[in-house]
Amino acid sequence: MLGRTAGGLFWMFRYLERSENTARLLDTGFRIALTGSENSSESEWESIVTTAGGREAFVQKWGDFDQANVTNFLLRDRDNSSSVLSCIEAARSNGRMVRTALSSEVWEAVNEAWMTLKEQLEKPVSVKNLAEVLTSIRQHSSLVRGALHGTMLRNDIYDFSRLGTFIERADNTARILDVKYYVLLPSAAHVGGSMDNMQWETILRSVSAFRSFRWLHEGDVKPKAIADFLILDRRMPRSLAYCLSQITGNLTYLSRGSEEELKSLALANQLDARLNGRDIDDVFEEGLHEFLKEAINQTANLASQIQDDFRFYG
């Protein structure tokens, strides 16, 4: 496969994953705005923008952290490379570039996602229509994912697509946790007031884990258990441990037949080992914030090592 094609697949799926994550963040923000107290909502919107990684750009262009501004910024601002619209356009554009590597189902799914969302996001989305638009975003990314699983050969094309997905997801989960790490610290745990409950719920919702967490923990929401769930639990498809195990798997497939071990695989194994069989108490001891910062940096290093190993660029 051409290195550029591998890169196109990787980025197509990174952007798709990101569009879904951005939409989920916005969804979470709305829930809080609707249920939370008056004065907390502004800072919640702010932390959502921070998690999406666009704080500076937001302040410069939009100013106040209110619902309308954040919605515009996250959904349809073309200057924000992580807005849903930017992501879908970038995903589709990469998809078009690697079209010969995609099944027609995958291509049509991403093309249709782009056609539909471009239209839905053309004008500002009103509060009344927000739920519908967010559902549409979620459904379209599910369609692409479903087409990928159902129609693509399990060869290196698939591996590069999955790598993009899980690198983005690992980064996203680590960011969400890092922006809120302080509410998970043991020192905060004893408080356990309604504020904390709301914060914990926010974290779980922004990784679509609210129900699965309750299901596993029978409604007993404890910050340590949340951290454990999102960092170390391999049953949870958005946890760091799960993402790393997938990345290691895909890189192992891709390295078959190559003479020396790929640097990216070595790095992924190292990161995987950091999460495998660990106790969450260890992590807290190391320092949650430090641990997450390290995870974010290492994920970025891994991404650029993958790019080098497989010659995405000349």
């Binding site: 496969m1 051409l2 290195g3 550029r4 591998a6 554009s93 078009r96 570039m97 079209r99 010969t100 027609s104 291509w107 049509e108 093309n111 249709e112 056609m115 290196d156 891709l254 037949g257 190559s258 497989f310 010659r311 660029y313 000349g314």
Partner: protein
């Protein structure tokens, strides 16, 4: 009733349907026009979903547009097609012989059949190709000969398109669409298939492997300028259908005297490249030094016999509008036969007498830029306003060398489906020709372009043209 002065390929009226359309007319009679219009809309949705689009230049945001598709087929009888085939093959063989001559001995110049300046001062002529024979002796691997019809037995060649003719993906997708929408028609009528074109293209290109290639299967790639190019859909479509790599210049590099593709597992040799970038962008070391679309050093590899470039660099000299008027002579010079297909009479405005004639008859003529394409910068005299005529006259006077003029041809019409039923519109035809050593393959049919606006003679997609499926009937 208004008398029709154009030849309609379906027939002058409902009572006098021409033979190739007889069965179609029977079928059409039994259809509900409303459901046909609905199918029309379905076809459009399909094209959009699959992304069969072309990009429009000059807009701030890269825009992708659909080429409108009309559901009424253009039908050609077996006998008509055989005649066309002969004419096209003759013309394409002559083009290749001409190119071999012009880049080697230049006998046609020495014989005084072609003025020297027309070659020497032509930008499409590449001195870098002098004395070099491309692999298999083939210059124009892919040709799209533009034809128009004016009567029962009157066909003219409008352009030879010997560089990188586009549109073949529409020929294939149009057929797929028709097969899906009207399967019953294909059981009632014997239509020659076109679907083997990608396989034929692959075979044809593989047969032109470079002289130093010694494996058994040369590696193939389509070289595209990238996703913003207007024909990008076609590039990816052809690569996909041929099972070739779709490469951009940034994927290619000259290493150890070979052109190599950067893959995830290192560099891999490329043997045959079907390039969809223009000559001047091909190799920044040989041509335009600013080109980012090219592969530095590819021309050296080419000269050393280590890669095949299709079409060969420099073929543009053969389809240059300045040369067009000499085509009957060219055909005769190399084949020893009279040209089977007619040339449209052409006045070269660089010649004083011709210029005078053109200026005196501007409102009856079509005037084209010698190096123009896509229907841009062209004057259709009979359709132009007084002001447009005056403006064009000024342009002609200030730079006559830049223009050629032709009579306004009475292009044939074929009906399209409109809300008011069938209505005649002007069409042209671009059959696709593949050339490999000793073989010329012509896909039966081609791309029919149709001017959707009533009365319009401009069929270019950039100017409101659409396409039709083209059926060549079996015997």
């Amino acid at each position: 009733m208004v008398e029709r002065k154009f030849f309609d390929e379906m027939g002058p009226d409902e009572a006098q349907v021409r033979a190739p359309y007889a069965e179609y007319a029977n079928w059409f009679e039994g259809e509900d026009p409303r459901s046909l219009l609905k199918k029309s809309a379905e076809a459009e949705t399909f094209f959009r979903r699959v992304g069969i689009t072309f990009n429009v230049y000059g807009q701030k945001e890269a825009q992708e547009r659909l080429i409108p598709f009309d559901i009424v087929p253009r039908i050609i009888a077996a006998q008509e097609w055989r005649q066309l085939e002969k004419g096209i093959e003759q013309r394409v063989r002559a083009l290749n012989a001409f190119l071999a001559d012009i880049y080697n001995k230049q006998e046609i110049l020495r014989a005084g059949r072609l003025p020297e300046h027309i070659i020497a001062q032509n930008e499409a002529f590449l001195p870098q190709m002098m004395g070099m024979t491309p692999p298999g002796g083939v210059y124009t691997h892919i040709v799209g000969t533009d034809l128009v019809r004016t009567g029962e037995n009157e066909f003219y060649v409008l352009e030879d398109n010997a560089r990188t003719p586009s549109g073949v993906s529409y020929m294939l997708e149009n057929r797929e669409t028709m097969l899906r929408m009207f399967p019953e028609l294909f059981t009632r009528m014997k239509v020659k298939p076109v679907s083997s074109y990608p396989a034929e293209l692959r075979r044809s290109l593989s047969a032109c492997a470079p002289p130093n290639f010694d494996g058994d299967k040369p590696s193939l790639a389509v070289l595209t300028p990238g996703i913003h190019n207007s024909a990008y859909f076609e590039h990816s479509f052809l690569a996909d259908q041929m099972g070739a790599e779709l490469v951009e210049a940034s994927d290619l590099k000259v290493i150890d005297g070979r052109v190599q593709m950067r893959t995830t597992r290192g560099y891999r040799q490329l043997d045959v490249v079907y390039r969809r970038v223009d000559d001047e962008f091909l190799d920044p070391l040989s041509f335009n030094p600013d080109s980012l679309l090219g592969v530095p050093g590819i021309m050296d590899v080419y000269r050393a016999g280590n890669i095949t470039i299709a079409n060969a660099p420099g073929t543009g000299i053969a389809d240059d509008k300045a040369l067009y008027s000499y085509m009957p002579d060219i055909v005769e010079f190399y084949t020893g036969e009279k040209a089977i297909l007619k040339n449209v009479p052409t006045w070269r405005c660089s010649e004083g007498d011709s210029l005078k004639y053109v200026l005196d008859n501007l409102s009856d003529l079509v005037v084209k830029e010698v190096h123009g394409s896509g229907g841009y910068g062209m004057l259709v005299g009979p359709a132009a306003s007084k002001k447009e005529l005056a403006d064009f006259e000024a342009k002609l006077r200030s730079n006559p060398d830049n223009y050629v003029a032709q009579p306004t041809l009475a292009l044939s019409t074929v009906p399209i489906m409109t809300k008011k039923g069938l209505a005649p519109r002007h069409v042209d035809l671009r059959p696709y020709v593949l050339v490999s050593p000793g073989r010329v393959h012509i896909t039966p049919g081609g791309l029919t372009r149709v001017a959707l606006k009533e009365g319009s003679l401009v069929v270019n997609s950039s100017q409101g043209g659409g396409t039709k499926d083209t059926w060549v009937l079996g015997d």
